[in-house]
């Protein structure tokens, strides 16, 4: 089971969390130049225009880099250490900072293909978390099968493509 720190929505993240509750990861496509940017970016990093159309990630990504966290900065994740957190590049282009799940004994390398999942908290409270996992995890499950933390993920859903 994976612990889920509680995250509170803010006025500027309402659309992002509305998408997440539908199992979708919000992205923004620039109306001016067509570049796709992350949900937090008000202005297009390519052409600086604000106008955009909402879209969502297809759920495939590649690993940019990662760390194996031994001293968790978050109390809710202390029981989970060591865990992996990293940067992944969505096929659409934007990067995500995200928890990365590996299968038992599986080694990571830059460029590795990953799948993005949205996971709801087990108690149904709070906002869902995003996860990246290797293809092997999808087949055999991830190495951190023990329970831990106060709140655990239940419904892990692959992003709809």
């Amino acid at each position: 089971m994976i612990a889920v720190p509680r995250v509170l929505r803010t006025p500027d993240s309402v659309d992002f969390f509305d998408y997440a509750r539908l199992g979708k990861l919000l992205l923004r496509r620039c109306d001016s130049c067509g570049a796709v940017r992350g949900p937090q970016e008000r202005f297009c990093p390519q052409c600086h225009a604000a106008a955009h159309t909402k879209t969502h990630a297809r759920g495939s990504a590649s690993l940019v880099s990662w760390a194996v966290v031994h001293r968790s900065p978050l109390p809710a994740l202390e029981e989970q250490t060591p865990y992996i957190a990293g940067i992944v590049e969505l096929t659409e282009g934007p990067w995500l900072l995200v928890r990365v799940l590996t299968a038992p004994g599986e080694a990571l390398r830059a460029g590795m293909e990953l799948e993005i999942w949205i996971a709801a908290a087990g108690d149904g409270e709070g906002e869902p978390l995003g996860l990246a996992q290797t293809r092997q995890v999808s087949r055999v499950g991830h190495r951190q099968a023990r329970s831990g933390g106060e709140r655990a993920i239940s419904g892990c859903r692959r992003l709809p493509s």
Partner: protein, 385 residues
């Protein structure tokens, strides 16, 4: 022409029972005395706060300063010390102020908790999209710098032993620094058994956490001539910033804005890297030193790992670097750590750790997660007109 004429430092580390503002006031008082001035001669005050965010322009009241023509709180994160000196250069050149104190003070350490807790996030503070990303577990500089270092390792083959070489070299320098918090020698093997914080970074790759304060006094070269200490002249300054770009083709983690920042500073100074006697580099992590050396051009991109091997940065090595132990082994006062050590070395006051050639120093500041950068070129000689 701008000159650093005073340096004031408090004790560093577990300094308890005194506020950041009190420490900052002590540092300013000492810097003014060091220069051979008195507080009443200050007409400018620039303040910089660390984690506690409690050194404010109201420090002017604490110091009993009655009339000032320049007061500001500045924040370029870890790049602030050098951007303050650049601000002083402009203020002195345009006549805004003549004699300015710049000070950093912080008290993140508390007697009842471990040092790392000072930088930890609390779950209750996770809000919005940034909180959602932090909930994945990469919430702090330790993790993000580890992700940056791993990227360099994957791209260029940089090794943990190369990071260790930086930690070991700086500890050797710290042995000669009475202000340093860590004065026990370490080896590469000690690095191997140092606890993981966020793999690939071990505890010995991470900076200290310190309570304390440092101040400098800045004035014109003309005024400096009559003062108490050997003058430290500001030949050049630069800054460049690359806020984190989170998307395809981003160089985040591999290359920083240190390059354009140092080129600006060297161009103003009319110098090249070959003229530099010593470098004092912002070292929140061992990796920060490695990537800054590359971006400054001391070696090619990707070759920083090989460059720092074999004691090149250690006492007696080819490049005198972080000669007081830096923030890894000395004290963690943001950009005032490298800046204070540069002042000490240029003055020739380095004692056991004094480097033989100390006429020109290059000083870096780095803030955010390799996002904000500033550079100074300092010299013992007045700049030729």
């Amino acid at each position: 022409m701008t000159t650093i004429v005073g340096l004031g430092m408090t004790r560093f580390g577990k300094v308890f029972g005194v506020s950041s503002a009190q420490l900052a006031a002590t540092a300013v008082e000492r810097a003014v005395q060091d220069a051979g001035l008195n507080l009443g001669q200050l007409d400018g005050l620039l303040v910089s706060s660390g984690l506690r965010n409690d050194v404010t322009p109201m420090l002017a009241c604490d110091l009993g300063l009655r009339e000032l023509s320049l007061v500001a709180s500045m924040n370029t994160y870890g790049a602030t010390a050098n951007t303050m000196v650049a601000e002083c250069a402009r203020a002195i050149a345009d006549g805004t102020a003549t004699t300015i104190a710049c000070v950093f003070g912080d008290t993140p350490l508390r007697p009842d908790r471990r040092a790392g807790a000072a930088w930890s996030a609390r779950d209750s503070t996770l809000r919005g999209y940034h909180g959602w990303q932090a909930a994945g577990g990469a919430a702090t500089p330790n993790v993000l710098y580890a992700v940056a270092a791993r990227r360099h390792m994957e791209e260029y083959g940089t090794t943990t032993d190369q990071l260790a070489a930086i930690a070991v070299a700086q500890r050797q320098w710290a042995l000669g620094n009475p202000h340093a918090q860590m004065r026990t020698p370490i080896t590469i093997e000690d690095h191997h058994v140092s606890p993981w914080i966020a793999d690939p970074l071990r505890r010995l790759d991470c900076c200290l956490v310190s309570n304390g304060a440092i101040a400098i006094v800045v004035t014109s070269a003309e005024r400096a001539a009559d003062l108490a200490q050997p003058a430290v002249h500001v030949w050049g300054y630069g800054q460049a910033h690359r806020p984190r770009v989170l998307g395809r083709d981003s160089w985040w983690g591999l290359e920083t804005a240190a390059g354009p920042s140092s080129r600006q500073a060297l161009r103003r100074a009319g110098l090249t890297l070959q003229d530099i006697d010593l470098v004092e580099l912002y070292d929140c992590y061992t990796y920060t030193v490695l990537v800054t050396l590359e971006d400054y051009g001391f070696c090619a991109k990707g070759e920083g790992g090989a460059f720092v091997e074999n004691g090149r940065l250690a006492p007696g090595g080819d490049l005198a670097c972080n000669t007081g132990g830096g923030q890894l082994s000395g004290y963690y006062m943001w950009g005032f750590t490298p800046l204070s050590e540069a002042v000490i070395q240029i003055r020739g006051h380095g004692g056991d750790r004094q480097v033989p050639r100390h006429d020109i120093a290059l000083v870096s500041g780095n803030g955010g997660i390799l996002e904000y950068h500033s550079t100074l070129v300092l010299s013992s000689e007045a700049k030729p007109r």
